[in-house]
């Protein structure tokens, strides 16, 4: 028998407790000098501490960092189909006017191909029921963009964007239920963009105004209903959105009936109400264009008064992604930020709705067990099996 096989066999006997080292070397006296020290070493190795584990807080912290990095990498690595199309098309058709002219038909063709040719109507149907974070969600977004691409009048486009905004409200409800709050910012942002586009386009449409107004009011009321039941982090995003809506209402174009009053509610900004949904009590808005001065009250922010659509003969400038439809001519209004918030919002208290602190990715300090290392950074005897927290990340090449 080879020495290796003999050693392994004898080690297994030791592990099973059927023999001692002395028993074994007595059986193999010719190999005593080699076997004895190796078997003793084997026993010492078996006796090495195996309860070395991370402490529970450290484990939880590493877990949170890991999942945050995973979700971040997922978001960065998986652009939606619509985004892929958008990034792909300019390369395909160039940036000339001619290229832009052909971009839409190409987009429609590709989207249709994706939606019906490759994946089938059944999959598209399933995608439309998907929520943020689901594998089919990108297809849902692409299908929505296809509807916009097929709308050739401002009226149809406004309807399409409002339909998308309504879908985002349902998505927000889903993430409130399933806890995917990491997606809240994106979904709420998409809602803002869609509603802003709908309102911008609707301001020049000439028909079905009443019906459209009712639909906008319905969407915003649904969103407000979600706010009441949403987790705090989601409420934070929604409070900003609802603030934008109310602020936008206060600077609405000619023809808009600005909210008659406003108030502060629990954890929501003073204007934390949907656009066109005035509150019951509070000081009147300065119709001359000044920002309303919120007075803290505890009244309900919801009113059943319907949303009133802006009236304008010119298409408001694109780029204001908030629901605001544009400044009132002749009125002094603070410029809207690219996020859809007006500068006046800084005066609106939202501090109660601050999201919970995220587990930081900042370098570790090792302060949890300061006695664990000496001045040279070498570790000395610990009083606990759980080792100290590290002092810095190690970047490993893939």
């Amino acid at each position: 028998m080879k020495t290796t096989d003999l050693l392994i066999m004898c080690a297994q006997e030791l592990d099973a407790g059927t023999s001692s080292v002395d028993d074994i070397v007595a059986r193999y006296p010719g190999q005593r000098s080699e076997l004895a020290p190796l078997l003793q070493l084997h026993l010492k190795l078996e006796a090495l501490p195996k309860r070395i584990v991370l402490s529970e807080p450290t484990k939880a912290r590493v877990r949170a960092q890991l999942l945050a990095e995973i979700r971040e990498s997922c978001a960065a690595a998986k652009p939606s189909i619509a985004e892929r199309l958008r990034s792909f098309l300019p390369q395909f058709v160039g940036v000339s006017d001619t290229g832009r002219y052909f971009a839409r038909p190409v987009a429609i063709a590709l989207t249709l191909l994706l939606s019906f040719g490759l994946v089938g109507a059944g999959t598209v149907s399933a995608a439309m029921e998907s929520g943020p974070g689901d594998s089919l969600y990108s297809l849902k977004e692409a299908t929505e963009q296809a509807r916009v691409a097929f709308a050739f009048t401002n009226t149809d486009k406004a309807d399409a964007y409002l339909w998308i905004a309504s879908a985002r409200v349902r998505d927000i409800s889903k993430i409130a239920d399933n806890g995917r709050l990491d997606l809240a910012e994106k979904v709420v942002g998409d809602y803002n963009k869609s509603l802003a586009e709908a309102l911008r386009l609707a301001s020049v449409q000439k028909q079905d105004r009443v019906k459209f107004q009712e639909q906008v009011t319905s969407v915003q009321t649904d969103l407000h209903g979600i706010y009441d039941k949403a987790p705090q982090e989601l409420q934070f995003h929604l409070a900003q959105t609802l603030s934008v809506g109310a602020t936008a209402a206060s600077v609405a174009p000619t023809g808009v009936a600005a909210p008659a009053s406003t108030s502060v509610t629990d954890g929501v900004s003073a204007t934390g109400v949907p656009q066109g949904l005035p509150v019951k009590e509070g000081p009147p808005i300065d119709k001359a264009g000044g920002s309303p001065e919120p007075t803290p009250t505890k009244s309900s922010p919801i009113s059943t008064e319907p949303f009133q659509l802006p009236v304008s003969d010119t298409l408001p400038a694109k780029g204001n992604t908030g629901p605001a439809a544009g400044p009132v001519p002749g009125k002094e209004v603070a410029p809207a930020a690219s996020t859809g918030q007006t500068s006046g919002e800084k005066d609106l208290p939202v501090s109660d709705a601050t999201p919970p602190a995220q587990d930081s990715l900042t370098p570790k300090t090792g302060s949890e067990t300061p006695d664990a290392t000496n001045s040279k950074g070498k570790t000395v005897i610990q009083s606990s099996i759980s080792p100290p927290v590290g002092s810095g990340r190690v970047t490993i090449k893939q």
């Binding site: 290796t4 392994i8 020290p37 070493l41 890991l66 999942l67 099996i385 490993i396």
Partner: protein
């Protein structure tokens, strides 16, 4: 009974793996909960520094997430797959740290003994042994840690390292001889 529990856990792990492959980060979080201790312990014994072991453990799971789509259940247990990632990561780590890694940074965890002298003696003995392990060649080191710390059987080690069982046994034999040489007179005192 024990086999039933093992089978149930295997089924649970397979399910979590499948869901992770489908992009479910929470399921991957459960896999982390199941295996972080073993991965950390393995890395701790390999690098001898809890801070680096912690960072590397996190990196193992991050790499595993990125590669989980390529994981196929061909009878290779998930933990074995994770340990092979840890091994590859350590190879890269040692390559990057070739000229700067110190073997003196010894960690000595305490045990349950209340006698400080015994604790110190045991700690010193095991610390010497751990330090000696880290002076082994990489292939010897990983086999020793997988066998004695991770408690893996020879077929599992062979699968993790893509070697034959016979090769793993030979490596272990050479590792024990190397340890005997590294520890020199110290081992005679220990024995």
């Amino acid at each position: 009974m024990r086999e039933k529990a093992a089978l149930a856990q295997e089924a649970e792990v397979n399910s979590l793996v499948e869901r992770s492959i489908g992009g479910d980060a929470d399921s991957f979080g459960h896999l982390y909960d199941l295996y972080i201790d073993r991965i950390y312990r393995h890395l701790y014994y390999r690098v001898g520094n809890p801070d680096i072991a912690e960072d590397l453990a996190a990196q193992v799971f991050l790499n595993a997430w990125r590669a989980v789509g390529r994981y196929r259940q061909t009878g290779r247990p998930f933990i074995v797959w994770l340990l092979s990632i840890a091994h590859n990561l350590l190879v890269d780590y040692y390559r990057a740290q070739k000229d700067t890694t110190s073997v003196d940074d010894v960690i000595i965890p305490a045990d349950d003994s209340v006698d400080p002298v015994t604790v110190a003696e045991k700690s010193f003995a095991s610390a010497s042994l751990r330090q000696a392990i880290r002076q082994l060649k990489h292939d010897q080191q990983v086999v020793v840690v997988m066998r004695y710390i991770d408690g893996m059987e020879y077929p599992e080690i062979a699968a993790a390292l893509s070697k034959s069982e016979g090769a793993v046994r030979v490596i272990l034999h050479r590792a024990l001889n190397a340890l005997r040489g590294i520890m020199g007179s110290e081992i005679r005192e220990l024995l």
